[in-house]
Every structure is written in C-alpha cells, then in structure tokens.
C-alpha cells in the first residue's frame, strides 16, 4: 500500500505481524502492543528493527519503557471516524517525547490527513489518497488557533508576537 512521508511517496519496508503469528527472522516488523509487552526483552533483543502498532483502545503510556528501542509506531484507524488515534499521537509526541516515525495506518483519508499531521503523524499509509492530494490537503490552512503536536505557533500567540 502506498506510503507517504516527508512530502514524498516512499517504499514501505515494514510488515505487520499479528498477535498469533511468528516473527520472521529478518526485516522490519511492527507488532501489536500486547505482543510487545508479552515478550519485550525477547522481541527487542532480536537482530531486526521493531515497531509497534497501536489499536484505538491501547494506552500509549504503556510504551514508555520501550520508546528509545522502537523504530516505528503505527496508529491504526480501523474506521476513520474513530478519533482516539489523534489523542494517542498527541500523547506520544507531546507528553512522552517520542520523536521517531509516527505512521497512520488503516482507513486513512485525504480530508483527515491535516488533522493527523497536526496531531503529530509524519507518515501515512493510504490507498485512498495520492501524493498530490495529500500535499494539497496539508496546505489547506495557513493558520491554526490552537497549539498542537506539529509545533506551529497558535494564532493566539501569533497575534501578540513581537516584531
């Protein structure tokens, strides 16, 4: 499935391994949060890059001990109307200090990508939006009232910036 990151469509080198499946011996893999927690020492000691996929009900705080050892966090949107992933992203970026790749997967649509970007996502796995559309979506607004995980200065503050 197409993957868009940093303004470009890139090749996706990651694969997802479900709860009941075995990890392949090599390659970059993401696993469900519960699977990681079950055997964190074993999984993180493997000679391959490990990432985590969060489901909407997962608590990002549970990732705290592993954040410096995982290379990718995917946040799953099984249905795009389920907005829990936005809070997970903001928590990871702003409270827990995660700086690695934060990828939206699942039902990822063009018109939600700006909100995702503002919440801290920097990569989008989507079959429903092409690169040109995603780039357009990210430019639809030039000002934002509230601060968020994208680090943009809020309108509240811009109004009173000196100089």
């Amino acid at each position: 499935m197409p993957l868009i990151k940093n303004g470009a469509e890139i090749e996706d080198t990651w694969s997802f391994v479900a709860d009941d499946a075995d990890l392949p011996s090599s390659g970059c893999v993401t696993v469900p949060l519960a699977k990681l927690i079950d055997d964190a020492d074993g999984i993180l000691a493997r000679n391959q890059q490990i990432g985590v996929r969060l489901s909407p009900a997962d608590d990002p705080h549970e990732l705290t001990p592993f954040l410096d050892r995982i290379a990718l966090i995917e946040i799953d949107f099984p249905k795009y109307v389920d907005g829990r992933g936005y809070s997970q992203a903001q928590l990871l970026r702003r409270r827990l200090g995660y700086t690695g790749e934060l990828r939206a997967v699942g039902h990822v649509l063009r018109d939600q990508i700006l909100y995702m970007n503002r919440s801290g996502f920097d990569a989008y796995q989507t079959s429903r939006a092409n690169l040109a559309n995603v780039l357009k979506a990210l430019e639809e607004y030039s000002a934002f009232y509230q601060p968020a995980a994208d680090g943009q200065t809020s309108v509240f503050s811009r109004r009173h910036a000196k100089g």
């Binding site: 809070s87 018109d111 939600q112 601060p147 109004r159």
Partner: protein
C-alpha cells in the same frame, strides 16, 4: 461584538475553498457518500427528509444588522424565503441545494460568518445567555470567553472525531438562561478574590437519556480554563463509548464511570500536562477579545421614560406587549426586547427574509447594531432605549413580529418533527399550534404566567421536552402518533428532568390535557405569584395526574 482580524478572515476563507473542493470531489464521485458525510456535517450540511439542510453558526447567538441582512439574502436567494432559528442559537435553511452551498458559505464569509462545526461529532457552536452584556443579573459579560472557546475549538485537530457531538454553554448570570446543566460542558463564570474563573459542569444532556451535569470543579481560573477543557476533552475522546451511538455522549461516560472517578481522571490528565503542552493564552489576547465586547455608548437616561409611559397609556396593545416582552437592562432608561418568533399557529422559530430585514434595520437604527438569537428560538434586541420603544414596537407589529408571549405558554420550543425531520416519530409543529390556539386569549395566557412547553417529535429531544415545565414527546404506536406528557422539567440553575405523568395521549387529546394541567395549576396555586413550575415543585405531579386520568 467580535470582529475578525486577518487570521480569522483567512481561516474562514480557507474553509470555504476547502469545502468547495470537497463538494466538487463528492459531485464527481471522487469521495464516497459515507466518507463525505462527516465532512459535510462538520460544515453544517445535513441530508433531511426533503433536501439538504444548511445550519449556519451564530456564535453565542450574536448578530448585527449586516449579518442579519446576509441571512435574509441567503433565505431569499438560495432557500424559500425563510430561515429557522434553532435551540442552539443557530439558523437553519431547509431547502438549499448542495451545489450552491459553497457559494452560500462564501457570501456568509463576507460578513464574518460560517457553518464550521455546526454538526458532526466535534465541538459545536458555543452558546450563551442571550441577554449577555445587557442583563442586570450577570457578574460579567460571558461573550469574550465564548469567543475564545469558539476559536480554540475551531478545527481542533485532536477533537474532530469524538465519540459523539459536543456542546458547551457559558453563563455569567445567577439565573441560568443558557441551560448549562444540560450541556456536555456547562461553564458558570465566577469571581474569586478578584480572579475570574469558571464553575465547571460536565455530562449534562437530553436525548434518550436525560442527565443533569455533575460539577467537576468549583473554580478553574480563566488562565487555566482552556487547558482544563483540553483535559476533559481528551478523557472523553479516549474513554467515551464508541460501540453504541446512543451511549456515546460524555454524559454516559460520566454516569458509567461515576462523577468522582471521572473527575479524578480529568484531574489526573490535567496534572500530567507539561508546560510545553499548555495553550499559554497570552493575557494580551484575553484583553484584546474583551475589548470587542466593551459596552456601547449608552446615553445618560433616567429610569423611566415619559414617551414610553405616554405610549403605553395611548396604546393598550403596546402596553400589553411591553409588559411581557421586555427584560431589565443594567443601564437606566434601556431595556432588552424579545422579538417573539412564536405567533399563534405560526411556525416556531421561523423568520422570513423581510422580517429579518426589519430586525436588522431596528438593530441598526435603535439598538447599537446588536441582535441575539435565543435558545428558545426567538430574537432579542438587547439594548433599546425606553424612549424609542414605541417606534420599535410599531415596526415590529407591522412586520408581524410583535407577538406578546415571551416565556408564556404559547412561546414554545418545538422541533421540526415529522413534517421535516427523518428521525421524527410524530408531528411537533401542528400539535404546538393546536395548543397555542387553546391559549390564544392574551388575558388567559398572562393569567397563567411564565410556563415553558417544549415539544419533541422523537426521543432525540431536539425540542428539549425533558426540561420543559410541560414536556411533550411524540412517540409512534403501531403507526399512530401518541404523545407522552411530563411535568416539572426545567433547564435553569435548578435544572430538573420532567416526570412522565401517565400513559401517552392521542394527538387530538393533547391540547385539552394541557388545558386541564394548566387549569389545575390555576386552582392550586397559592397566589398568582406562584409560578406553574413552583406549584409542580411544591405538590408533585399527582394532582395533575389525577385531573387528567381520574375520569378514565
């Protein structure tokens, strides 16, 4: 009134462009209807029984003449010549074509209006006291904070796909006219040791499960309120139920978690916020927004007006209207005028384009260019000099806008019901009209005094029947319309959910049942000073039940 600066104007312009592109992509089939739905909803576009409906935001109910004239123009050019004021202080157009909506939004943007977040599972239009800035009984003007909350919640990236819709109301008056205890968040402005702050109520609501909000914090200082709201919203977004749309409002989360545990979760989330996560609203920004709501240049006047007194003596109809439709103003010689949109046997909350033009003219000529929409679906001119009142009245009367029934029994909240809405089980408008006819005699109606009848055509409670002094709910019984009557509900500072008094009544039984209830009250009240709601509170519903059902 708040005026857009370059940022506000730019954001609204960009919204118009964005929605235009979304509509084009929908019409070309690029976006599926299912995926378009939340996009159009967050722009106030509903698919109704007969057509698309557009709900335009009127933040905290505030308009001026230019905006009202634009609303009239939209009604004339794109609808069938009228608009419908809603219980959330917005206006709805029932007959707009989808392809025209981007043009409508562009026209609205010219007068600093929009339809952003007037629907969908996001933070909706912030509502407030329609007498804000004018009434004697407020400790300050709540509108600046409504505006700050409006801006903060606009396109908030974390809270655009909540479990369900989210409504915030703010009041600063002892008598709560904003119904804050039946909102998802209700804020009551307080002052403590010279610091402005908010009493925070969470989890009120109507719908299928009416609940009065729990107080989660007695006082949050204004410097912290947005961060506190963020904490509440995050707890709701993460933990609110998403498995069942009828259990998805925050009231269910508060109830199922328990108010104490819910409060603990909010406090925990709030305490965990790091400095870098705070909104850090500059004090200068609070001052900037406050400045827009400075009182207009009132003239020095005496409490009474000779012209007003003369006109009352000369014109009994005017005297009668003035007795009912005025609200005390904080400045001597001024008053707040309610323009009733509830003529007998009319359509509750509807105004024609020419009526809107009249209201705009009056606001400009006599009312410091200030107009409000009320949650009871009326319009208010908040600052009218008593000296000018007769002129105002005569123009209103000529436009069919001088119905003297503010807060009386014929001033009902009525949802669109089965005549318009695809959720409804029963008609609301005609049952309201039939009741109005019973009480059309002004002397009878005024003898009854303040009494709120609220009518909903289905369990979703858009007509606020749970909090009507008399609530009427339409239900479907094997294809036949029936109506459940409840008593004792109220939405003010003593907010209570009404109690159902017995088996549902047939359509044609409702008006006489209401008359029986009202006449029972007139027999039982201690004096004419005891309002209907107070009699029900004192005696309970039994005497009324007996009066209606005993003969069965």
């Amino acid at each position: 009134m708040y005026r857009y600066d370059e940022f506000d104007a730019q954001i609204v312009k960009e919204r118009v462009d964005q929605f235009r592109s979304q509509v084009e992509r929908r019409l070309s089939g690029d976006i599926l209807e299912d995926e378009f739905k939340p996009l159009r909803l967050q722009n106030g576009v509903y698919l109704q029984l007969h057509a698309y409906m557009l709900r335009v935001a009127i933040p905290y109910g505030q308009l001026n003449a230019a905006r009202m004239r634009k609303l009239a123009k939209v009604a004339r050019d794109y609808d069938r010549g009228y608009g419908h004021m809603t219980t959330r202080q917005n206006i709805q157009y029932n007959w707009v074509a989808l392809k025209d909506i981007p043009d409508v939004l562009e026209e609205l943007a010219e007068v600093e209006m929009h339809a952003i977040q007037t629907s969908g599972n996001c933070i909706r239009n912030v509502t407030s006291d329609h007498f804000a800035g004018a009434t004697k009984d407020e400790i300050m003007d709540p509108r600046p904070w409504c505006e700050i909350i409006r801006q903060w919640s606009t396109f908030h990236p974390e809270f655009a796909f909540l479990p369900r819709k989210f409504k915030i109301a703010v009041t600063a008056a002892e008598h709560d006219r904003a119904a804050i205890r039946v909102h998802d968040i209700g804020l009551h402005m307080r002052e403590r040791d010279g610091v402005v702050g908010f009493e925070v109520h969470v989890g009120g609501g109507q719908g299928r499960t009416p609940i009065i909000a729990a107080m989660v914090n007695e006082f949050v200082p204004e410097s912290e309120i947005l961060d506190y709201l963020e904490a509440i919203m995050r707890v709701y977004n993460r933990f609110g139920r998403r498995d069942n749309k009828y259990k998805a409002r925050i009231k269910i989360l508060v109830t199922e978690t328990g108010p104490e545990e819910f409060t603990r979760l909010v406090e925990e989330e709030y305490a965990a916020q790091q400095t870098s996560e705070k909104i850090a609203l500059p004090e200068a920004e609070i001052d900037r927004i406050n400045a827009y709501f400075a009182p207009p240049a009132f003239e020095d006047k005496t409490e009474t007006s000779a012209a007003f007194e003369r006109a009352k003596t000369a014109d009994p109809a005017f005297a009668n209207w003035a007795k009912v439709n005025l609200h005390p103003h904080k400045v001597a010689g001024y008053t707040s005028v309610t323009i009733s949109l509830k003529p007998i046997a009319g359509l509750a909350g509807d105004a024609t384009d020419s009526q809107m033009m009249v209201m705009a003219h009056l606001a400009e000529r006599y009312g410091f260019d200030d107009i409000r929409v009320t949650h009871a679906q009326n319009v208010v001119l908040p600052h009218i000099a008593l000296d000018d009142l007769y002129e105002v009245y005569r123009e209103l009367a000529a436009a069919g806008l001088a119905t003297a029934n503010e807060s009386l029994i014929t001033d009902m909240i009525v949802c669109p019901g089965l005549d318009y809405c695809n959720l409804a089980n029963a008609r609301s408008i005609p049952v309201g009209q039939e009741i109005q006819k019973v009480f059309a005699d002004p002397a009878y109606e005024q003898d009854i005094g303040k009494l709120h009848i609220n009518i909903s055509g289905c369990i979703n409670a858009c007509g606020h029947h749970h909090v009507g002094h008399i609530g009427i709910l339409g239900v479907d019984r094997k294809g036949e319309e029936y109506y459940q009557v409840s008593l004792g509900g109220r939405a003010d500072e003593k907010a209570t959910v009404g109690q159902i008094i017995g088996k549902a009544l047939r359509y044609e039984e409702v008006p006489s049942a209401v008359k029986t209830i009202v006449d029972t009250y007139r027999d039982l009240r201690t004096s004419q000073d005891e309002k209907f709601i107070d009699t029900v509170e004192r005696l309970g519903v039994e005497p009324f039940q007996e009066a209606i059902y005993a003969t069965d």
